[in-house]
């Protein structure tokens, strides 16, 4: 999709790059010639991703980091620059649905609330802050935030994740307007229902089938559906796009006021 070599030699940091969307994005960017730093807490997972990228003949570095800790985030970016020479692209993908066991609102503890907000929102702020001075100094940079359709609609009981993701969407706009004049583009992807189990077919459980039925394209998203949009937003092809919100959801957000299968025929008009 790029002019040959557009991303060759660029350096990207991908948080939560050990699994799912992060891993898929790391692989897609690496194939385009990007040197990739994969940062997450689970060492085994990020080393696995790094070795898969190395096997493609591309540079990859696994740096264990807890993105809810800003000191670790600052160290991650410093280490990236010292080992790979620069940082050009940041993919804020880390996030959890973990700790979202449905429970009554009054049973959610302060710690659970903070963990949800820190992991999904504060981490995006910390990472963006850490790369921004490098971006400003070099006169270019790309941030791609992975938000969620949950940040645009109220899912039942989805307090921390949905609130944090809505915050990510507006943080995107604020960073975009603040740094537009520095040739830094900040955009946001809102994935719909994505099956992150590495392209395994979705098991035919009744709940999975129900969910797939909700999606106009009648299937779950795949990690590469998102990763290819990450690639577009990381490349110069999107050089004039900033502050954008890109739902990538199989059409789900376009509907949502009528149940699936509701398609009446009202021919003579009712007025």
């Amino acid at each position: 999709m790029n002019e040959k070599g557009t991303l060759e030699g660029k350096v990207a940091v991908i948080t939560g790059g050990g699994t799912g969307l992060g891993k898929a994005s790391a692989l897609v960017l690496a194939k385009e010639g990007v040197s990739v730093v994969i940062a997450a807490r689970r060492v085994n997972a990020i080393e696995q991703t790094a070795s898969e990228i190395n096997a493609l003949g591309r540079k990859a570095l696994a740096i264990p980091a807890d993105v809810t800790d800003s000191q670790q985030v600052n160290k991650l970016i410093e280490e990236t620059v010292s080992k790979l020479g620069s940082v050009d692209i940041l993919v804020n993908n880390a996030g959890i649905v973990r700790g979202q066991v449905p429970k009554p609102l009054w049973e959610i503890t302060d710690e659970e609330w903070r963990l949800g907000i820190d992991t999904n929102l504060s981490s995006v702020f910390y990472c963006s802050r850490a790369v921004m001075k490098y971006f400003v100094n070099q006169g270019h940079g790309k941030i791609i935030n992975i938000a969620s359709g949950n940040g645009m609609r109220g899912f039942r009981g989805d307090y921390m994740y949905g609130t944090a993701k809505a915050g990510v969407i507006n943080l995107t706009r604020i960073l975009a307007t603040t740094f537009a004049q520095n040739n830094i583009q900040v955009n946001c992807i809102a994935p719909g229902f994505v099956d992150v189990r590495q392209l395994q077919p979705v098991p035919v459980t009744s709940s999975a089938t129900r969910t797939a039925n909700l999606i106009p394209v009648q299937r779950f998203g795949e990690p590469n559906d998102i990763a290819h949009l990450v690639l577009f937003l990381a490349s110069e092809a999107s050089g004039y796009i900033t502050g954008g919100l890109f739902p990538n959801d199989g059409g789900g957000l376009a509907g949502g006021i009528a149940p699936t299968g509701y398609a009446p025929i009202i021919e003579k008009g009712v007025n």
Binding site: G149, G154, I257
Partner: protein, 251 residues
Amino acid sequence: MVSQEFSLKGKTALIAGDSKYWSKYAAKALAEAGADVALSARNNKHLEEAADEIQKQNRKALIIPTETNNTVNIQRVLGQVLNEFGRIDILVNASDFVFAKPFLQISEKEWRQVMDENLMPAFLYSQAVVKPMKEQSKGRIINLISCMAERGVENFTAYCTSMGGVLQLTRALNLEVARHGITVNAIGTAWISEVEKTGDAAEELVLKYLPLKRYGKPDEIDSLLVYLASDTSSFFTGQFLYVDGAVMSHP
């Protein structure tokens, strides 16, 4: 009883284009708040019911049967309103021509009809009232539209498009008339019924889907309608509000 801040005493309203049930409820609400109300639509029993509701509130009612939506006709309607009432303060565009058909089966004639029924009257009536409202340096235009202005539903391409048009008319017109004291807002609804819905499987599917597990009633927009029609909402313009039982919020 309407509190003083929201009083429409001495104001006149025109509810335009409704041939369903909006006029009955909207007229009652506006009259209860103190407005005299004119009704312009195809002549049906429902307009007389609406006029009854207005008179019960000891306000003046005026029925102006209107078969066709074109400039000449709508100017005639407005002339009659100004003749009888002396002024026009509030316009409620209430056309709601519901039409649903698989996309490939919609004829050019049907498509035009949906636009003519839903979008055209909003344009023509708004154009007719803006002139006198400008002279008064005050006015309220309230467009009743559907949540389908923003969201898609299968088989509703024409209807969704027409309602989306009214939504954009709301946003854009607001910018032109705001400085003259005229506000333009829209109220969006979905799943409204005059009668309680129960029964068949299709209804059950819908009811199960709705966050409140019930349809809305036409009078549930009343208080918002009166607020938007009142002097107290003078800084509130260009907005699109949903009275939707939370259907726009959920996934």
